[in-house]
Amino acid sequence: MPVHSLTSRERVLRLFTGDEIDRPPCFSGMGNVTAEGLKKFGYKFAAVHSDAKMMADSAASSYKLFGFECAVVPFDLCVEAEALGCEINVYSHVEDILYPTIKTKLINTEDEMDIQIPSDLAGRGRVPMMKEVIKLLKNDIGHDVAIGAHVLGPFTLAGQIMELNTLLKLSFKKPDKVGKLLGMLADALIVIAGEYEAAGADYITVREMGATSDVLSPRVFKSLILPYLTKIFSGLKGHNVLHICGKTNDIAVFMLESGARAISVDQKNDIAETRKKIGEKALLFGNYDPYNILVSGSQDQVRETMKGCLDNGVSAVWPGCDIWPTVPPENFHAMMDEVKKYRR
């Protein structure tokens, strides 16, 4: 295949398979809905989380409006917790953009940790809707653009369903007990991610930001978090990425040891150093600041930052978190243009 005529989808897939590409793609594994995209359809942000067509339309719009090289769903981080039985708040009363959060925890104290994973997980909450969204996206733009989906990592999901203070203290005091919970959640996440893969997702991003070195020591990451991430990546069938934000320089090597095909880090990572540590071949995605650069930076700052990411050795230009919806269109265009014209 001539590499000068790749579609965005081919470019992303060839990146994962290690085949030759013309340039690093500019895409993401996390939410990429924009206010511009919502405006195009007249959708309210609070409404798109629970309607398959609205979510698919919004997710596809970043490609259609700006040429972003993927469409990724969902936009929020509550799908898995909801399927496990948590109630969510979508803030429908708020005009501004607020992401859904969990209203009530399943586990408040140590004694409540023996939960059962529902056997019909794939049919619960918004999991069936997410499959529908992925299918709609495949039909709409799936020929040209890679479709991604994300799930939380086991520890981050534990933080959604369980009182966070308790989880953090027990991860220190009773790691065995926490480990048992993480093992169950890993199984649940394999089921949900498997549904997304079966619906046609080209790649899955596992977001384990709760285990950043801003919160947990690299030692605890290795002993308590890594085994269950490894479990998930051995259970996934397609392409995949492990994302952790915040401080990650000391755990980047462990992140790769999880078996993830690619790792994703945010702007707090010294990416040139990480590249040195993990070698030339490993897939490293990152690491621009999606708010302070993409939303509030000037076009020149956007261009400089994207060039900086590429100079520092990223395999794909990719945000440190969800694209923040109020990104100015001219900044989005500047980002795409800079990545497209970059030559190593």
Partner: protein, 229 residues
């Protein structure tokens, strides 16, 4: 009355109880301090808070992480709960009340609670609005309590932008109110641009800032005592 040596020993025990996140030791130390007739303020500042200062250093050196910090905070509160009823009120010339909370859309309150702890230690009247707090509530509560400080916390970029609205509203209604913002996505740049008076990007910095504040209170307190003497 306790001898100087015995006092020193009790302070050391309180300090170590916090550092070693030992709630029982903190309770025992606090009880003993009271039994020996020690000044509760002394036990709090030179025992418990000294311990927390060391915890801040350990956190900065990346020997301690958030789980340890939470356990140390538990130990501090275990001692503080016993000592606080015995604190003699000192007029520091500060009104000392603060409204604190995590902004709507954000359900993370660990950083907020660490900062709150230091205000508790300092004897501030703390109006804790909790997490996921509707933006108008901060303004309402400040007006109602006439607090001189409002602390806003957000852990996610996705909720941080709500803080700007609160700052604008607060400054419009009461230009004298001091506003501190905190959380992972917050930067000096954002604090300046939005007109906040202070900021702390993470629990460590929040802790450091709070300790700095407590240390200056400690100085004020010592000066006040010198004047009395």
């Amino acid at each position: 009355m306790a001898t100087e040596d015995m006092k020193k020993e009790i302070l050391e025990r309180l300090k170590n109880a916090v550092i070693q996140y030992d709630e029982d030791a903190a309770k025992e130390g606090a009880d003993e301090a009271l039994r020996e007739g020690m000044d509760a303020n002394d036990a709090i500042f030179n025992g418990l808070v000294s311990g927390m200062e060391e915890v801040g250093r350990l956190f900065e050196a990346q020997e301690y992480f958030v789980p340890e910090l939470l356990m140390c905070a538990d130990a501090l509160y275990a001692g503080l709960d016993i000592l606080k009823p015995h604190v003699k009120q000192l007029d520091l010339g500060l009104r000392g009340s603060v409204v604190i909370g995590t902004v709507e859309g954000d359900v993370h309150d660990i950083g907020k609670n660490i900062v709150k702890m230091m205000f508790d230690v300092a004897g501030f009247q703390v109006y804790d609005l909790g997490k996921d707090v509707p933006l108008d509530k901060f303004v309402e509560e400040q007006m109602k309590t006439h607090s001189d400080l409002v602390c806003l916390s957000a852990m996610m970029t996705t909720t941080m932008v709500g803080m700007k609205k609160v700052i604008d509203d607060l400054k419009a209604k009461n230009p004298d109110v001091k506003i501190m913002i905190g959380g992972a996505p917050v930067s000096q740049d954002i604090a300046e641009k939005w007109g906040a008076d202070g900021y702390a990007p993470d629990a460590n910095n929040a802790l450091k800032d709070a300790i700095n504040m407590i240390s200056s209170l400690k100085k004020l307190k010592e000066e006040a005592e010198e004047k009395k003497a």
